[in-house]
Symmetry: C2
Subunit: 387 residues, 2 copies
C-alpha cells in the first residue's frame, strides 16, 4: 500500500483521524504515520480544525486540502483562447479570455500561455511553487501520451511539436495535453453531469468532433483519435470535398462554415456559424431549415454512435449548439428512428450547460486528475525522499 | 485494505512469503495473517511446495491455486451450444458441443445447460461444491447487470427472462450473462491478444455485432447495447427491409443469409453463410465477388467505428470470417480509404484465431474475472465469517 491509497480515503473531503485511517485500511499505525507525513509535506492533506472533543485531548483530524495547490487550465481554440487557475477541487479562481490565432504557431501561442499563467498566479498572489500542473486542450488530433498534435489540419507548425517541453521551460510541472473536445467532455461532466458514467460530448463549430466518456473514463483509443465524428461519411454529403481532402465527410455539410455557405448560395448574407445562429434566433426560416437539416446529417452519425457506444447522455456543444432546439430536433428525428430501441430508451440528447467554459473547466479537471492520481502522488513522494 | 488486495499480489502466479506480502502491502503482520487465512479457507491461495531453504526452517510460500475451483463457460448460439469447464487460470479442462435451437426457449435450453454442467463436473470428478461461477453468452441484446435478454430478435420466450435465477435453482453460484459477441471479444483477447488493450471483435454470421474492449475494459455502454453494428444504416442497403423492422441496415445486405440470397438470385444453389464460405473456398467467382462486396459494406461501418473508437486491432469472427482474405480485402479497402490516417497507422484488421471456440473461452473468462474480483472475494469472506 502506497501513500496514495491512504489519500484515496481522504479525497471525498471527509475529515478523518489517524486511528480511523488505520482501521479503514488495516495498515499498521507506524505505516499510517509515515504515509500521512508524506501527504502533509506534499500539502495534499492538512490538519482539519473541527475535531470534536470526546474529553481529554481532541484527536487530530486530517482532510483534503484543496487550496494548497493550484492548477492552470488552458483551452486553445482556432481563434480564441481561455486560461484559468483552479484549486484542487476544480473551483475556478480566476479566468482570462483572449483573441488568439492557433495558426500563429506554437512559439506565439505558447508564449501567450506562459504569460497568462504567470499573470493569473500574480493576480491570485500564488507563488509559482504552488502550481501543481497545467492541463491544455488543442483544436486538433493529439497524442495524449506525448502531448503532441499529429497532423492537425488548422494548426500549421504544430505537427509533432513538443508542447509539454516548451511549457516546461517556463513552469517545471506536469503538462497534460488533450484535444479540445475531450476536455469539453471532461468539463461538462465535472460541472453538470458528475453522476453520468457514459456520455458523449459533440462539438459542432468550425469542425465537428466528440469526446467519449464510457464507464466513467475518457476513451481516447489506441492512438488518441477516438471521437472523430467529423470525417465520417454521410449520405447527403455525396462527393462534397472536405478540408481533410476526403469526400463525403459530415463536417463538409453540417459544420458552421458549410451551413453558412449553403445559406449564401440562397442569397443570404452570413459569414459563419455564429452568423447562422443569429439568423436562427431572429427566426429566419431558411436558417432554421438549414440548421435542422444539419441536425439530421449529424443525427445519422449520432445514431451510429449510439448503436456502437450506447451512451446515456449525448451533449451538443460548440457554437452551433446555441441554435438550440432547431439543431436538436434534427438530431433526435434521425437518432430515434435509426437507433436500437433499448439504446434510446433512456437516452437524453441535450445542449451543453457549461457552454464555452466547458473546455477550460475540463482542462483544469485534466490537470487535477493527474495531480491526485496514485502514480503522481507516489512520484512526488519519491522526489521528497530523494531530496 | 481487504483480503482481495493481498490476493492481487498473488494473481500473477508468483509464490510469495507472508513476510514479502507484509513488506509489499505495508500491512501489519497480524492483518496479513488474517487475510491469508481467509484466502486459504476460500481455496484461492495454497501453500506452494517449492520454497528454497536458506538454512533452518524454510519460509512457507503461498501462491494462487488455479485448480482449487472450476468455472463453467457456456456459449449459446442460434442453433449450436458449447459448454466447457475451466480452472481459474482459464485452462479448458473439458468441453462439449451440441446442436441446440435457442428458439426452443429458456426452459429447454437452460435444462440442457444444467445437464451439461453436471456431466462435465462428473466427468472431471469435481464435486458441485468446487464450481465457483458460470459465465454464459446469449445470441441477443443482454442487460448485463440483471442477466436478462431484452427483446432478442431470434430468441422467442427469452425477453426479460431471469436466466441467473433459473440456473441458480440447479447451481447456487454467481451466473454472469453477456451477449455472444462480448464473450467472443473476451475469449479472443484471453487466448491470443492479452497484450492488446483496444480491440473490437466483429462477428459476421447470421447477424452482425461487435464486442468492444477499450482501455483493457469491455465496454457495454449505459444499457449494455454497445457494439450493435448490424443495424447501422449503410448506403448500398437502400430500402432493404431488415429483420429488425427497420430499413437499410448493414445486416440486411452483408450477413450470411443476405449474401446467400443474393447468390441464389444469380441462380447459384446456396443455403446460408456456411454454403457461401464453401463456394469461396472452391474458388467460385460470384461468391468471391459477393463476399468482397459484403466486406466493403462492412468496411463502411468499420471505418466509422475506427474513427469513433480508434482500436488497434479489429478481429473478424463468426462463420463468414472463414471466407478469409476475400472478406478482409473488402473491409480494408474501405477502412483505409475512409478512416483518419493517424487511426489506421498501426491498425491491424485480422480474422479470429480462437475461431468458434472464442465464445466458450470468453464465457469462462467472464466467470473467472468475477470470481477473482475484489468484490466477490470480499463477499465470500463475509459468508465465511458469518457461517
Amino acid at each position: 500500500m502506497r501513500p496514495s491509497d491512504v489519500f484515496d480515503l481522504l479525497r471525498d473531503g471527509q475529515p478523518r483521524t489517524r486511528a480511523q485511517l488505520a482501521e479503514l485500511t488495516g495498515l499498521a499505525r507506524s505505516t499510517i504515520a509515515a504515509r500521512i507525513d508524506v501527504l502533509l509535506r506534499l500539502g495534499l492533506v492538512a490538519p482539519y480544525g473541527g475535531g470534536i472533543s470526546t474529553g481529554g485531548r481532541p484527536p487530530s483530524l486530517l482532510a483534503l486540502n484543496p487550496g494548497a495547490w493550484v492548477v492552470a487550465g488552458i483551452d486553445l481554440g482556432a481563434t480564441h483562447a481561455t486560461a484559468a487557475l483552479a484549486d484542487l477541487a476544480g473551483t475556478i479562481l480566476a479566468e482570462r479570455r483572449a483573441d488568439l490565432d492557433i495558426a500563429a504557431g506554437p512559439e506565439v501561442v505558447l508564449t501567450w500561455v506562459e504569460g497568462v499563467v504567470d499573470d493569473l498566479l500574480t493576480e491570485q498572489r500564488r507563488p509559482v511553487s504552488e502550481l501543481a500542473a497545467i492541463g491544455m486542450g488543442l483544436p486538433g488530433p493529439v497524442e495524449h501520451s506525448t502531448g503532441r498534435a499529429i497532423n492537425p489540419p488548422i494548426m500549421p507548425g504544430w505537427h509533432r511539436y513538443d508542447v509539454p517541453a516548451h511549457v516546461q521551460r517556463a513552469f517545471d510541472v506536469p503538462v497534460l495535453i488533450d484535444n479540445d473536445v475531450n476536455i469539453m467532455a471532461l468539463g461538462e461532466r465535472h460541472a453538470h453531469l458528475s453522476d453520468v458514467d457514459d456520455l458523449v460530448l459533440i462539438k459542432v463549430a468550425t469542425g465537428i468532433g466528440a469526446g467519449i466518456v464510457s464507464g466513467a473514463e475518457l476513451q481516447r483509443g489506441a492512438q488518441g483519435t477516438a471521437g472523430d465524428l467529423g470525417h465520417v461519411r454521410v449520405g447527403r454529403a455525396g462527393d462534397t470535398v472536405c478540408r481533410c481532402g476526403n469526400v463525403g465527410c459530415l463536417e463538409a455539410i453540417a459544420a458552421g462554415p458549410a451551413i453558412a455557405a449553403e445559406l449564401r448560395e440562397q442569397g443570404i448574407d452570413v459569414a459563419d456559424g455564429h452568423g447562422v445562429v443569429e439568423l436562427v434566433r431572429a427566426g429566419d426560416p431558411a436558417a432554421i431549415a438549414a440548421v435542422r437539416q444539419a441536425g439530421r446529417d449529424l443525427g445519422e452519425v449520432v445514431a451510429t454512435l449510439v448503436n456502437l457506444i450506447n451512451p446515456s447522455v449525448v451533449v451538443i456543444g460548440g457554437a452551433l449548439a446555441e441554435a438550440g432546439e432547431s439543431l436538436l430536433a434534427g438530431i433526435r428525428e434521425v437518432v430515434y428512428s435509426r437507433s436500437l430501441p433499448l439504446a434510446t430508451e433512456h437516452l437524453r440528447i441535450v445542449t451543453s450547460r457549461a457552454g464555452e467554459r466547458a473546455g477550460v473547466i475540463g482542462a483544469a479537471a485534466l490537470a487535477i486528475e493527474h495531480v491526485l492520481s496514485p502514480a503522481a502522488i507516489d512520484a512526488a513522494e519519491r522526489r521528497l525522499v530523494s531530496a
